[in-house]
Amino acid sequence: MSIFIEHLTHLYSPGSPLQVKALDDITLQIEAGEFLAIIGQSGSGKSTLVQHFNGLLKPSSGNIYLEGQNITVKGVNLRLIRQRVGMIFQYPEQQLFEETVFDDVAFGPRNLGITEEDVEKRVQNALALVGLDKQKVGSRSPFQLSGGQMRRVAIAGVLAMQPDYLILDEPTANLDPQGRDEILFLLDKLNKEQKVTIILVSHSMEEVARFAERIVVVHEGKVLTVGTLAEVFAEESQLEKVGLALPPITKLMKELNRAGKKVETAVFTPKQATSELLKIIKEKRVRGKKDV
């Protein structure tokens, strides 16, 4: 159960003077059920990379296997693949088009040839997952909702297809902190409760540090590093070289280390830092008492 990317190279405008190598020999395994983040600068190739995962782009060379099936060969049923691997683009609210929220979310399922009753169930479930009530917003125009709500409706449209894998390309761009948190918690819930594999494309370390288990750093079309949060964040100088910043909390812990304080540096959020610091302070107090 996985997506396996094997020696993937992608050229834009191949054979022309404008030829650009967007992806250069990428090999990567994505495990079913994981929460994976793909980070990199603008232009690093991360969006190009994920658009191969459901066959939207075809490799110039290399193969993509979805649970063992090569999806890059002729005769593959791409419709089925795209049901299983859902894709949420940047600014997905720009793709809303129906007159009501219900119809917009129902658009995908209706094309599956299932009964209207089943469609309704799927829409209701999908809206509930993103924290919207079908009774309240179902008959409203999606364009009268707030930006964050519109984005959640767009996400519900993809969830209604009940994908096993969900790719999101910078899903929190332009949202305020609360809207951003709503989306991130939703992804965490989908991953934990519905066992959906999440592939989150982002350039914010702070954001991916909150929920992702594994990080892929893409730079100039190549995979620079793959590993757990702690493994990737340990390579600070390499990350800064490619224009990515560590979360401020991680930086703080590293600075404390440099100041001679023994603290764990694989700490990414203020909450984690608080418990780590308190632990050390308590240990010091205990030791202090013993010394007396």
Partner: protein, 276 residues
């Protein structure tokens, strides 16, 4: 100086239904100031920014730029020269096929003499550090570079006030840093008045004054060190505080004596070391 007096703004959804986007705003922006405006989506901050150069006009109340009221049609072109705007999406504000022509677009339309246009374009390119790219097609630039070209366009118009509406929202970390440094340089070295609308609290702490908006009103206003210590209030508005402030807030709850107005990592290190 920009004076905003009891500004109200309604958007009409249809003939009967209206939405109050700005609800009695009073605000004075001094010349040479660096002001940040923060607020949740829908709090009215972008609407407010569009009043500063007359892109939107008040439903009631006044906006007065250097003594010129935006309501008077005769003032509008002068106001738009004085108050330059940079929007969120770098793709939407570039008009020409070559960088220097894009920057020259504004002054050309004002009928400025060619020799002076050249001077202004050179000056603007130099200030934003983009001289090397003057003959490049803008679509080959990065997002951050495009935003700097948009800023240069405002400079070439002779703008004294620069309003930036989430200029870094679509940029990666390197682009963000680059644009923010350019904004700071313009403020410090060229004395430009900067009005920065942002969702990034780490950017807002760089300003001299922060205005917090919620539901079309000004909720809080003051120096960053006075505003960001209101951790609970800001969270209620759906906003963040800088990471160091949040940590200080959590540690205070555990009875540690760490002030909330810490924004920088090295300051936090100083406060924490005695405990560790």
């Amino acid at each position: 100086m920009i004076e905003i007096k009891n500004l109200l703004h309604h958007y009409y959804i249809n003939e009967e239904k209206k939405l109050t986007a700005l609800d009695g705003i009073h605000l004075s922006i001094e010349k040479g100031e660096f002001l940040a405006i923060i607020g949740a989506n829908g709090s009215g901050k972008s609407t407010l920014s569009r009043h500063l150069n007359g892109l939107l006009l008040p439903s009631s109340g006044d906006v007065i730029v250097d003594g010129m009221n935006t309501k008077e049609e005769n003032n509008i072109w002068q106001i738009r020269q004085a108050v330059g705007m940079v929007f969120q999406n770098p793709e939407n504000q570039i008009v020409a096929a070559v960088v220097e022509e894009d920057i020259a677009f504004g002054p050309e339309n004002l009928g400025v003499a060619p020799a002076e246009i050249r001077e202004r374009v050179n000056f603007a390119l130099q200030v934003v550090g983009m001289e090397k790219w003057r003959n490049h097609p803008p679509h080959l630039l990065s997002g951050g570079q495009k935003q700097k070209i948009a800023i240069a366009g405002a400079l070439a118009l002779g703008s004294q006030y620069l309003v930036l509406d989430e200029p870094t929202a679509m940029l990666d970390p390197a682009g963000r840093r680059d644009v923010l440094q350019t904004i700071q340089k313009l403020h410090q070295e060229k004395g430009l008045t900067v009005i920065l609308i942002t969702h990034f609290m780490e950017e807002a702490v760089e300003a001299e004054r922060v205005v917090v908006m919620g539901e079309g009103k000004i909720f809080l206003e003051g120096k960053p060190e006075d505003v960001f210590v209101q951790v609970e209030q800001l969270k209620k508005l759906g906003l963040d505080v800088p990471a160091m402030t949040e940590l200080a807030f959590l540690l205070q709850q555990e009875k540690l004596d760490i002030p909330l107005n810490i924004f920088k990592i090295d300051e936090m290190v100083k406060y924490l070391c005695p405990y560790l």
